[in-house]
Amino acid sequence: MENKKIKAGITVFPGSNCDYDVYRVLNEIFGVRASFIWHKDEVKKLGGFDFIVIPGGFSYGDYLRSGALAARSPVMEYVKDYAERSGIVLGICNGFQILLEAGILDGVMLANISLKFECKDVYLKTLNFDSPFTCAIKKDCVLKLPIAHHDGNFFAADGTIDRLNKNGSIIFKYCDREGNITAGSNPNGSLYNIAGISNKTFNVAGLMPHPERSSEKILGSQDGGYVFKSIIKYIKEK
């Protein structure tokens, strides 16, 4: 299967602002056919897409709670339905927050421990190499990706964390350059340095760092590209 036969849908809410960056990277760097899905569009069942990306940004200004208002919009019903039918869904940053608020992923995002917006490069350790989001990542490879968020402090009850752990659903953790998971490498106070998780069946994932901002050499890192390469690989091999 050629990449250009793979169809990706990118949801657009009022206030989404990484939508175009994802669109461009998917189309121009990875040669996938990506198109936008306006939050009010009646794209019933989202059946035509091989995967869906919920991009970052400030949907509804992130007012009330990050992602809360977007999580209640009609298109999220379709996304939920799509996910339940094993569709692949990736939420990036605000997209991750929306998936949490919609109850598609477990947990919540609190404000960063600094109570400040944090824009910087972080290092990620991959904990599960079998998911659609990580299957092209080389083992022992520490990834460098940028973060840019105010509410990335992942929190969940102990029981939930246990469940995520047992299931292998914690897919990325913040680490240092050498891959050690340390307090100093945690940029936002996230519980157990959690940077990205998946659902029970691994077809839905959310992560705070931005793979679309680290898929080209000129931007200082191509490591984010592995996330998209994984999705493509997974779809091709399916």
């Binding site: 919540v108 404000a111 009850a157």
Partner: protein
């Protein structure tokens, strides 16, 4: 006729409140040593058209639904409603 609903949304006790902590440290460093703890929540006012509800109970139910589904995240927050 409209009615007002006042909703307090607060973090559940067991959830860490970084904002409250930050306010507490500001208060302490400003010499307000008697303050022992601070919790920060939200206070939301809704103005609702009363006429479309057969009873005030129904109106209250709708406010509860809104509070539950939109205004709060039940995983970490709880809320209380007052109608006026």
């Amino acid at each position: 006729m409209t009615k007002k609903a006042f909703i307090k949304v607060t973090l559940k006790e067991e959830v860490l409140d970084p904002q409250g902590k930050a306010v507490l440290s500001v208060l302490k460093s400003s010499g307000y040593d008697n303050v022992k703890d601070v919790r920060v929540g939200k206070y939301i006012e809704l103005e609702i058209d009363r006429d479309n509800f057969p009873s005030i109970e129904k109106l209250k139910n709708e406010v509860e639904e809104i509070s539950d589904k939109v205004l709060s995240n039940p995983l970490i927050e709880e809320y209380s409603i007052e109608l006026k």
